[in-house]
């Protein structure tokens, strides 16, 4: 544990050369993974990560040092290294830490690392059987379980001394369907910021396994998607990755502060169709992307990004907030103690609208229905994005027609936002890992069914 006296000594050392702000982030993380391949436990591993990162600001410049050695001597040595890289002129100031206990919005009951391996294997076996039960064409199922608990403590020179324990549990199911020399895969990966009780009520792993298997079988019998520009209906849930990639990253202060975003300088302006309201919410109970406090110790918030098409807020961390003259929105996140935090998404979604889902399809000109999306990426400067359609169908005469495979969607975020002409009523969320400069962090994406008047669809 990080004691108050150690934290104070480390922060003082870090500020020795005139930095104006110092922070220590201490972490002890235990994680476990188990993978089942074709009904047999293939690998099980246990990992203990432990260390601390020390950050010093001098105005808008930031120094970050991290180490595994969290003894007083080790931390002081790291603080000295950080201080050596700073030449500031802030005179020494009073440093007094006051411990604060964060509100707990995310109750945890069963620590997943304590659950017996045999029980976990049983859960994975149930996934395997459920997936194989869907079709004889399912030739391989890989089911894996990943869980970790991370105990963190954060202290900074403004007097903050707080901490939290974060517990994550997630199952990954990947089913492969094969016929002749051809094969297709389908995946589902539900998870939450909670313990092993995830599997008693919140997530039905067998249903998820069947969904993954059914997707693989459907795509095995699908033809290649035709290429070109067309209207696209994107279903709820992981379909929200379109907003995450195409717009979310460009609303992070890390991109906006330097003008590396197509939405920089546009607060208060219309950037999207008036049907679009988008939210980044770190407070949703036990959601995968939720937190009590962010990785800078700031309580998370529910933040409206876009309201009826008008840009309302950026997602702001402490350092980029300084650069932009904006307060933190509790959006400072990092993968672990090895990385300095930056502004990141939490649970980001397009809010429910008023359109009837059946009407959205029925009134759609011939195009593509993307029932399940894969991942994607974006260049925040230009807004150019791309993402894959995991399960797609052609829309013909206002009806969902044959399945198509291999489709990808490309475009520019600002362009796509203005072309949304329908937003459905039922909001659904889905889990993902988002990668950026501060590493890989759990996030939810989400939306109701939406329709975009035209997108470039890549196919063959």
């Amino acid at each position: 544990m990080l004691t108050k006296s150690t934290a104070e000594a480390v922060l003082r050392e870090a500020l020795r050369t005139g930095g104006d702000f110092a922070e220590i982030f201490w972490e002890d993380r235990k994680s476990g993974a188990m993978a089942l391949l074709d009904g047999h436990v293939e690998a099980a591993s246990t990992v203990r990560r432990h260390g601390a990162g020390i950050r010093v600001y001098n105005g808008l410049n930031s120094v970050y040092v991290h180490t595994n050695d969290t003894s007083l001597t080790g931390l002081i040595a790291s603080a000295r290294k950080a201080a050596d890289a700073v030449q500031g002129d802030t005179p020494p100031f009073d440093l007094h830490l006051t411990r604060s206990i964060c509100r707990n919005l995310h109750e945890v009951r069963q620590m997943p690392m304590d659950v017996a391996g045999s029980r976990k294997a049983q859960l994975l076996r149930a996934c395997d059987l459920a997936a194989k039960g869907v079709s004889d064409e399912i030739t391989q199922v890989r089911a894996s379980l990943s869980c970790w608990d991370s105990e963190i403590q954060i202290a900074n020179s403004e007097g903050l001394f707080t901490g939290d324990t974060r517990v994550y549990t997630r199952v990954y199911i990947n089913a492969v369907a094969s016929r002749g020399g051809d094969s297709q895969s389908g995946r589902e990966a539900p998870g939450a910021l909670m313990g092993y009780e995830l599997f008693s009520g919140r997530v039905d792993v067998e249903a998820a396994a069947r969904m993954a298997a059914q997707r693989a079988v459907t795509m095995l019998h699908a033809d290649a998607c035709p290429a070109g520009r067309m209207p696209v209906v994107i279903d709820g849930g992981f379909g929200g990755v379109i907003f995450h990639e195409a717009c979310g990253h460009s609303l992070e202060a890390a991109a906006v502060a330097f003008g590396n975003s197509e939405f920089a300088g546009k607060l208060g302006e219309r950037i999207a169709s008036p049907l679009v309201t988008a939210v980044d919410d770190g407070t949703l109970p036990n959601e995968w992307g939720s937190l009590n406090i962010d990785d800078e110790g700031v309580p998370t918030t529910k933040l409206v990004l876009i309201e009826d098409g008008v840009l309302k807020n950026y997602m702001v961390d402490r350092l980029n907030g300084r650069r932009m003259g904006l307060p933190s929105t509790g959006s400072g996140r990092r993968q672990d103690y090895t990385l300095a935090p930056t502004s990141r998404m939490r649970n980001t979604y397009i809010a429910a609208g008023e359109d009837d889902e059946a009407e959205i399809i029925a009134s759609c000109p011939d195009g593509l229905y993307a029932r399940a999306m894969g991942g994607g990426s974006v260049n925040p400067v230009t807004g150019e994005f791309n993402f894959a359609v995991d399960e797609g169908y052609l829309i013909r005469d206002g009806k969902i027609d044959v399945p198509v495979r291999g489709a990808s969607l490309i475009g520019r975020g600002s362009d796509i936002l203005t072309r949304i002409d329908r937003v459905g009523r039922e909001l659904r969320l889905a889990q993902g890992m988002c990668g950026a400069s501060s590493g890989s962090v759990p996030v939810d994406v989400g939306q109701p069914m939406i329709r975009v008047t035209d997108i470039t669809v890549g196919g063959r």
Binding site: L37, S45, N61, D69, G117, S183, A227
Partner: protein
């Protein structure tokens, strides 16, 4: 606890519990400085160390790892690894390796590089930024500019007598620039990395990034259709990295590659040779031993179009009844042993880049691919990816192209390679390193206008 004592004690207690065991200890330091407007923006320094412990019991392995070396950790590792081995139901027996009589002597650690003072690296980053700003009036904004260095060491020890170690050091940097012309905006970036600080040419790096951004400013889609495609060397390297898994015997044995049992068959055009060379100088992906402690050697995987071997570790080799190719991967001390290439590359052919453009005739040059982690199916080989590039008309480069997707299948692409360039270039080395010359491909599907 002192590291060597900890490892000795761990292996001893493992032996007392009647298991074979190995320890993988990684430690390293890293440095990165980012600059903006001639000032240090972010400065990151780290020291890190971690220990992975693996036990072998009745043919099953279990692993556990830690970043703290204290008495508690000792027992947690033992209990964790033994429990994990007990849970394993894998039908394929695992093995540990007693070590080879000799290991190749590789020069992967340059003390001069490790000794470069921070101030000098900061200065390099500042110079790179100002060089990038000096190239073209349309580039007034730098998205990011950084110089980094790292030094890493690994020791592998086991209860069968294996005791090997290695060290690497690397210097690198990158610049990403934004070009603007009226409403038009485009980005370009270039990275460098080397073990020899004297070989760094910052001006060439800056020029390449700026040229990428400026040349692509006028980009517009082309009409959808089938195009003859020249994959520039860096893009061809990305393609190889994305689909490298199909050459893993582990994937083949699990039905995740179509190359199972196809050794000796022609799987690519006759002009294609694919190499795995763990001894390449100037690469941090080179190593004298693999993740299981087996001495490494260079090999061809495809020779003149014919699949010569898949990549093996001890487990997959035993299962197939052949020798390991020393491609056991252990990207970090905490990782489970798998299979991965070292320096994996298409061997260069004879044609220089301009000759390839001329040979393309009418088609597209692709200079950027995005979305590899989602738009590429590593099992089936299918890909559909966002791309940028240039039109090629009458054997000459024409206007810039963006907002298109390029789709195809990697297995088919291997067969459709019509010419291989002489311009072999490697990507940034990490656990593995991928390289390629430019490749001329008969046909790919393009979605645009």
């Amino acid at each position: 606890m002192e590291r060597e004592l900890f490892i000795r004690e761990l292996l001893k207690r493992g032996a007392e519990r009647g298991v074979s065991a190995d320890v993988c200890y990684d430690n390293g330091s890293s440095f990165e400085v980012q600059v903006k407007d001639g000032q240090v923006l972010e400065y990151n320094v780290s020291d890190s160390a971690g220990l992975g412990f693996r036990v072998l019991k009745d043919g099953h392995t279990g692993t556990a790892s830690t970043q703290i070396l204290d008495d508690d950790a000792l027992e947690q590792l033992l209990d964790g690894a033994v429990e994990n081995a007990g849970l394993s139901e894998s039908k394929d027996a695992r093995f540990m390796y007693p070590g080879d009589a000799e290991y190749p002597a590789l020069d992967l650690y340059n003390p001069a590089l490790d000794a470069i003072p921070a101030a000098e690296k900061i200065d390099m980053a500042k110079r790179l930024e100002s060089l990038a700003l000096a190239q073209d009036d349309r580039v007034k904004q730098i998205e990011s500019c950084a110089v980094f260095s790292s030094a890493d060491a690994r020791t592998l020890t086991n209860t069968l007598g294996l005791d090997v170690s290695m060290r690497t050091a690397l210097l690198g940097g990158y610049v990403s620039v934004v070009a603007r012309d009226g409403e038009k905006v485009n980005t370009g970036s270039k990275m460098f990395f080397t073990m020899d600080p004297d070989s760094v040419d910052l001006e060439a790096v800056a020029k390449a990034a700026v040229q990428e951004a400026v040349d692509g400013l006028d980009g517009a889609p082309v009409a959808s259709g089938k195009y003859r495609v020249l994959l520039r060397r860096d893009v061809a390297g990305v393609m190889l990295r994305t689909f490298a898994g199909i050459f893993s015997a582990d994937n083949a044995q699990r039905g995740l590659s179509r190359l199972k049992g196809r050794e000796g068959e022609a799987i690519a055009a006759a002009c294609v040779t694919l190499m795995d060379d763990p001894h390449r100088p100037d690469s941090a992906s080179s190593a004298p031993f693999d993740g299981e402690g087996v001495a490494t050697y260079a090999k061809s995987v495809i020779e003149n179009g014919t699949l010569t071997t898949l990549l093996h570790n001890l487990k997959t080799a035993k299962k197939q009844g052949c020798e390991t190719t020393a491609n056991a991967s252990r990207p970090s001390y905490a990782a489970v042993v798998g299979v991965a290439p070292s320096n994996f590359y298409f061997a260069p052919g004879g044609a220089d880049f301009d000759a390839l453009v001329a040979q393309t005739g009418d088609g597209l040059l692709i200079t950027d691919l995005q979305g590899m982690h989602a738009g590429a199916n590593a099992i089936t080989g299918d890909f559909s990816l966002a791309a940028k590039g240039f039109v090629i008309e009458d054997g000459r480069l024409g206007r810039a192209v963006n907002q298109i997707t390029v789709a195809g299948n990697f297995y088919q692409l291997l067969k459709d390679i019509e010419a291989v360039g002489a311009d072999l270039e490697f990507r940034v080395p990490s656990a593995s390193c991928y390289g390629s010359p430019s490749l001329l491909v008969k046909e790919l599907s393009v979605a645009g206008k």
